[in-house]
């Protein structure tokens, strides 16, 4: 069983953290992952930086751009992660846009992920139908889970389709927005979370976008299996550097 699926069977709310690899410093990647695990984070999304991250708000755009300026590349990220499984056992996901993967070669990319011990991928601009038709076989061959997004505008019919081709979990985008652009959840989100919970999908849902503190984490996980924090963690890294990760995680739960 894939580490993601295993982790999701645990009887707890999942805290997932996203960060841009190569930020704040090029070689912070491994240390950040180790510190996140040490402080009780359940799942980590390692952001592969891209020049044109069109689903991301200003915070992740800036960390992504800074990481590229620091010299981050796909190959450097793989080199940094080559021994990660000697020290880290929680599930690791690479989240990135499709073009860098396409240039690396999708099969080569997947093979490298499997070799390192990456468990899954999140590729916001690879649509589910293209994935199912062209790439699913390759992902399956290397035991990689591809995670798909749903949003408040996604129809029930499409959610059921996405559920049917998904494994691991479904990434539930909390509101119509790019990353990092909203603070707090209102009735609209609550109704949406309930609507999805009532669909009784086969895959658990993890909520992302707009989660930035204990309050929003608790609200999101009332109806979902877990929640993802990205921009708020990157802001913390920008302000405090990579030395105070424990403070950030403890403030969430």
């Amino acid at each position: 069983m894939n580490r993601i699926e295993q982790k999701l069977q645990e009887d707890k709310k999942i805290l997932s953290i996203y960060f841009s690899a190569g930020y704040p410093n090029l070689n912070d990647t491994v240390q950040i992952i180790q510190d996140l695990e040490k402080n009780g984070v359940d799942l980590i999304e390692i952001g592969l930086p891209f020049s044109d991250p069109l689903a991301d708000g200003p915070t992740i755009q800036a960390s992504s751009t800074a990481a590229l300026h620091n010299g981050m590349t796909t190959q450097i990220l793989f080199d940094q992660l080559k021994d990660i499984r000697k020290t880290v056992s929680i599930p690791l996901i690479i989240m990135g846009y499709f073009n860098p993967m396409l240039q690396y070669g999708v099969e080569a990319f997947c093979a490298k992920c499997a070799e390192i011990g990456i468990d899954g991928l999140i590729i916001p601009d690879l649509p589910v139908d293209v994935y199912a038709e062209e790439y699913k076989a390759t992902f399956d061959k290397y035991g990689l889970i591809n995670i798909f997004l749903i949003t408040p505008q996604t129809s029930d019919e499409r959610i059921r389709f996405i559920d049917s081709v998904s494994s691991g979990f479904i990434y539930m985008v909390s509101s119509a927005s790019v990353t990092g652009s909203q603070a707090g959840f209102g009735n609209v989100q609550e109704n949406y979370f309930k609507r999805i919970a009532d669909l009784n999908l086969k895959n658990p849902q993890i909520v992302g976008f707009g989660i930035n503190n204990a309050e929003t984490f608790n609200q999101a996980t009332q109806y979902a299996k877990g929640a993802i924090i990205g921009s708020a963690f990157i802001k913390h890294l920008s302000e405090e550097g990579s030395g105070k990760i424990a403070d950030f995680v403890k403030a969430i739960r």
């Binding site: 069109l54 796909t74 690396y104 798909f148 119509a176 652009s181």
Partner: protein, 393 residues
């Protein structure tokens, strides 16, 4: 060989809709509706009437006598520069604003580089009384002040794109982000033959009025519908798509696309995507794309703000790959000289984009009996400062 889009939204291997799930409902709605809407009689009637009475179509097909003498061939200019707002861009914005109205959208967003598409979008929004927000790179805002003022006079809000290189590519990213943030009431009017399916096809169809007119105009003047060559400049490729459209499947018509080579194809300051690009994904479509070996999108350069886009429309990528179109790359210097030559020989000041198309006359030898139609996509008013600086006028 088919050069039109297939039912899955591809041109050969290029095209598709590589979009985040957040955009799926809007793009899917558009995909399901655009052909139906465009076929409705009241839509067609309003589109045709606006093109005629508001844009000033048909645009003339002008026999350029002195230019023809100089190059010893028969050159016709398709005068898109005479359209309202000064370029071909308005053909598409008229079409898309009518689609947006049919879809019940209340708010329009657009991206712009030099400002021509922004002005054309602001114009149709004023015409229809819809809210208009135009994203424009911070750097472009500084160097295209007159067009920024035009958009503001027309009632649009111009929002600076502050990310990345702060030019057209980033303005497009910001417009896409706006659409993600406003998924219900907003229509995104993309200005070129790029973006996720159905945009490249929809924009091409609205621009195809250019080649539709060329056919009957040439019949009147030459007694035949098909020229020997059609020539157009290419950035994203909307005027080219419209100029080529009705000739794609006429094998006797040579298709010539002219890209911006900037300071030289291999100078590091170029926008010659067909030469420098590799297959990649930008702004929702798979196409030829200028990028690093690591898949990061690189910043193109051209003296012409309308041609410095790092990708090219997927239809054009397919035309390049199959060899259906012949691609030329023209440097800043050659384009500027060709622009000045048109001023002196024909009394027409062309947009620098269009000057690139004209410059092909130096690079390709046409026969005396050849009929060559060049799309004069826009007028040069907006480029006056560039011309002044370049020629020290």
């Amino acid at each position: 060989m088919l050069y039109n889009v297939d039912e899955k939204g591809y041109y050969g291997q290029f095209g598709g809709a590589y979009i985040p799930e957040m955009l799926y409902p809007n793009v899917e709605e558009l995909r399901q509706q655009y052909l139906k809407i465009m076929a409705e009689p009241d839509f067609k009637a309003e589109f045709d009437q606006l093109l005629k009475d508001y844009v000033g179509r048909p645009s003339p097909l002008y026999f350029a006598k002195r230019l023809s003498e100089k190059y010893n061939t028969k050159i016709y200019l398709k005068r898109e520069d005479l359209n309202h707002t000064g370029a071909h861009k308005i053909n598409n914005t008229i079409g898309q604003i009518l689609v947006a109205k049919k879809l019940g959208k209340k708010r329009i967003i657009a991206e712009t580089g030099a400002g021509q598409h922004g002005v054309a979008t602001a114009t149709v929004c004023a015409l229809m009384g819809l809210e208009c927000i135009v994203y424009m790179g911070e750097i472009d805002i500084a160097r295209q002040a007159p067009n920024v003022a035009r958009m503001k006079m027309l009632g649009a809000t111009v929002r600076p794109a502050l990310s990345g290189s702060r030019t057209l590519k980033d303005a497009t990213n910001e417009a896409i982000r706006d659409w993600i943030n406003n998924p219900v009431d907003t229509h995104y009017i993309i200005g070129s033959a790029i973006g996720p399916h159905p945009y490249p096809d929809m924009v091409t169809r609205f621009q195809s009025v250019i080649s539709e007119e060329i056919k009957w105009q040439l019949k009147e003047k030459e007694g035949r519908e098909n020229p020997d060559y059609v020539v157009a400049c290419i950035g994203g490729g909307s005027n080219a798509a419209g100029t080529f459209y009705h000739f794609l499947h006429e094998p006797e018509v040579g298709i010539i696309a002219v890209e911006a080579a900037g300071k030289g194809i291999h100078s590091g300051h170029s926008a010659a995507t067909s030469k420098l690009g590799k297959v990649g994904i930008i702004h929702g479509c798979k196409t030829l794309l200028m990028q690093t070996p690591d898949g990061q999108i690189t910043e193109p350069y051209s003296i012409s703000a309308g041609l410095d886009y790092p990708g090219v429309g997927p239809m054009h990528a397919h035309l390049a790959e199959t060899g259906r179109a012949e691609f030329f790359s023209v440097t800043d210097d050659d384009a500027m000289q060709a622009g000045l030559e048109l001023c002196k020989l024909e009394g027409i000041i062309p947009a620098i984009e269009s000057s690139h198309a004209l410059a092909v006359l130096n690079d390709k030898k046409f026969k005396p009996e050849d009929v060559v139609v060049i799309c004069l996509s826009g007028r040069g008013d907006k480029d006056l400062n560039n011309y002044i600086e370049y020629f020290k006028i």
